[in-house]
């Protein structure tokens, strides 16, 4: 196979020259690197197969009803995914609600306003923010953010909006709200760095043409640059969404780990990743483990679809430029 795909000279190599090249190391290097490339595809295939086969007991027992059942009772042998799917979606949505305006605005500042030197330094710092391990965010979340939310944010929220169901009920600190806030800080660097790249890819003459027509800097940004970069910015939001859905440690530490579906953001909940992190090592019984693995498969499917969409969106914007 290798001999037919990689032919450096004009004539096809005969068998003897193939062995000569093999001995010279040339073909060996090709085969080795090709094998590694294929191995990666195999590993990704293996991830899918392992998740699928290991979740079969649950699929057989509950079918797709697993996704719609809200009862999670390991002792009673009943498993339903809905509370976790709900918690994952609520926290991710909350995180995006905060992170998208913040991130896009910061990206606009870095790409359009800041002088290149300053922009590079600030982007460097934002990349460091993305490098902070998730468990550190969790640590800060438990011991710093949760007390701040409890003492300052929640009293204000309940006084102003207490009549809304989303801010009703008692607050114990760990909650959807805390998890969403921690998540928003964690995904904002991704939105900023991808959006900034996309904005910088918009050709300069577009801006110059608009400014020459007498618009202000902001009008140019809002009416010319942003529409040009829109697809890519949406792509960056999808990337952030995938991150938020799959984020584990920080969420586990502040969400409260209670499989409950309530409209109130102030009450504790659970997420798919958190329940796997929390219960996997102690799960006893085939059905329990396979239910957790099925939840992993759901999470895998969700993030793959969203990531695939995001890549396509970012790719189409950057390809149109070049």
């Amino acid at each position: 196979m290798a001999g037919s795909t990689y032919v450096p000279s004009a004539s096809r190599p005969t068998a003897s020259s193939f062995y000569k090249r093999l001995r010279g190391g040339d073909e060996v290097a090709y085969l080795l690197t090709f094998a590694c490339a294929v191995a990666i595809l195999v590993i990704v295939g293996l991830i899918v197969v392992e998740l699928w086969t290991n979740s079969q007991p649950t699929v057989k027992q509950f079918g797709l009803g697993f996704l719609w059942s809200s009862r999670w009772d390991p002792n009673g042998g009943h498993f339903g995914a809905l509370p976790f799917v709900y918690g994952t979606c609520v926290t991710a949505f909350l995180a995006l609600l905060i992170a998208v305006p913040l991130g896009v605005a910061a990206a606009i500042f870095l790409a359009e306003m800041a002088p290149p030197r300053l922009s590079n330094i600030l982007t460097f710092l934002i990349e460091l923010l993305a490098a902070v391990p998730s468990v550190i965010y969790g640590l800060i979340g438990i011991f710093v953010l949760v007390p701040i939310i409890r003492d300052y944010l929640v009293p204000v929220l309940t006084r102003l909006f207490g009549y809304l169901p989303i801010f009703s009920g008692d607050f114990y600190g760990v909650s959807f709200l805390s998890a969403g806030l921690v998540l928003s800080v964690m995904v904002v660097p991704f939105i900023i760095s991808v959006s900034r790249e996309v904005l910088l890819a918009v050709p300069v003459d577009q801006r110059e043409a608009s400014l020459a027509l007498g618009t202000t800097k902001w009008e140019t940004t809002w009416q010319v640059v942003i529409p040009n970069a829109k697809t890519g910015i949406i792509g960056s939001i999808f990337l952030a969404l995938a991150r938020a859905l799959g984020e584990t440690m920080a969420v586990t530490m502040v969400i409260g780990n209670t499989p409950k579906i309530t409209p109130s953001l102030l009450s504790p909940g659970y997420s798919i990743a958190a329940v796997i992190a929390n219960e996997f090592a102690e799960a006893s019984g085939n059905l329990y483990v396979s239910s957790l693995i099925f939840l992993g498969l759901v999470l895998f499917g969700l993030t793959i679809v969203i990531n695939a969409l995001a890549r396509i969106l970012v790719l189409t914007t950057s390809r149109r430029r070049s």
């Binding site: 590694c36 990666i40 991830i47 910061a106 995938a242 793959i304």
Partner: protein, 284 residues
């Protein structure tokens, strides 16, 4: 013709521009807050015992995380031995050999692998390593982190090799070197500083990973011999101590967080400075 811009538009301009600046400042200040808080809180909890002593049984105060520091090192060693060679060679294939369609597929799959939540990788390592072996081990943790290292290893290798000017390749080929010789003695050495920094960044990224280790490496309270036993790691210790009720353990969690963050950020800053100064950056 009146060329003046109305005050309303001027104000809108100024307001929106300063708002965007404000958002940037807000995000950056979060970084400084985290750094400052950990520095203040973590360094005060840090002592020599932290690096030299083993954890005390629950109820007793004192003790350190010597086993977790060594454990993290071991797990990362296994991860590097799996992720770096595999990712590096596949990256070489992408940059130097690959045709268009296969390269696109591989790149896309690698990007998707990069987006797979770490906890899912943990499940796979559990199914492939822990279950057949029958117990948790450093090896299983290393396999999980190793898989997580692959995507970045592939993409940085490809990126830095493509940044090497073609004239270097042509020069070597014109001198009669084979393609493999050209790649391994001319192209890779030309990109080496970028490649090493990229791999360091990659290592720093997985060094803080906790979720996939929870049910692969698990953890324990003593020194773990070899690679076939459950092993304590810094991130998992931080998690376990943070959710424990004892105040003394919280202090240790802060100290461990401080050590981990310092390590991760130090590697990040060094590697990024090397990349920014390196010859490969001229193309950007």
């Amino acid at each position: 013709m009146d060329m003046r811009i109305s005050p309303r538009r001027k104000i809108a301009n100024a307001v929106m521009l300063s708002l965007s600046g404000l958002c940037t400042v807000l995000v950056i200040s979060v970084l400084f807050f985290i750094l400052g808080y950990l520095l203040w809180h973590g360094s005060s909890s840090l002592s020599l015992n932290f690096f030299t002593k083993l954890p005390k049984p629950s109820g007793e105060t004192g003790g350190g995380m010597a086993n977790a520091i060594i454990g993290s090192g071991k797990v990362l060693l296994v991860a590097t031995c799996i992720g770096v060679p595999l990712g590096f060679l596949a990256g070489v294939y992408l940059a130097e050999y690959s045709g268009k369609t296969f390269a696109f597929t591989l790149r896309y799959v690698v990007d998707l692998l990069n987006g797979v939540p770490s906890i899912v990788i943990g499940i796979v390592a559990y199914a492939v390593v822990v279950r057949p072996m029958g117990h948790y081990s450093a090896l299983a943790g290393g396999v999980a982190l190793g898989i997580m290292m692959i995507p970045i290893a592939v993409r940085t290798t490809e990126e830095f090799l493509l940044a090497v000017p073609n004239s270097l390749r042509e020069g070597a080929l014109a001198l009669g070197a084979t393609k493999a010789k050209t790649i391994f003695t001319v192209v890779i050495p030309a990109a080496i500083s970028g490649l090493i920094s990229g791999m360091m960044l990659n290592l720093a990224r997985v060094a803080g990973e906790t979720a996939p280790l929870l049910f692969t490496a698990l953890g324990n309270m003593f020194m773990s011999p070899g690679f076939m036993h459950p092993i304590a790691t810094l991130p998992v210790m931080i998690y376990n101590y943070a959710i424990a009720p004892e105040e003394d353990l919280h202090q240790q969690a802060w100290a461990a967080g401080f050590v981990l963050l310092t390590l991760v950020l130090f590697i990040n800053v060094t590697a990024r400075l090397i990349i920014a100064r390196g010859p490969a950056s001229s193309r950007r």
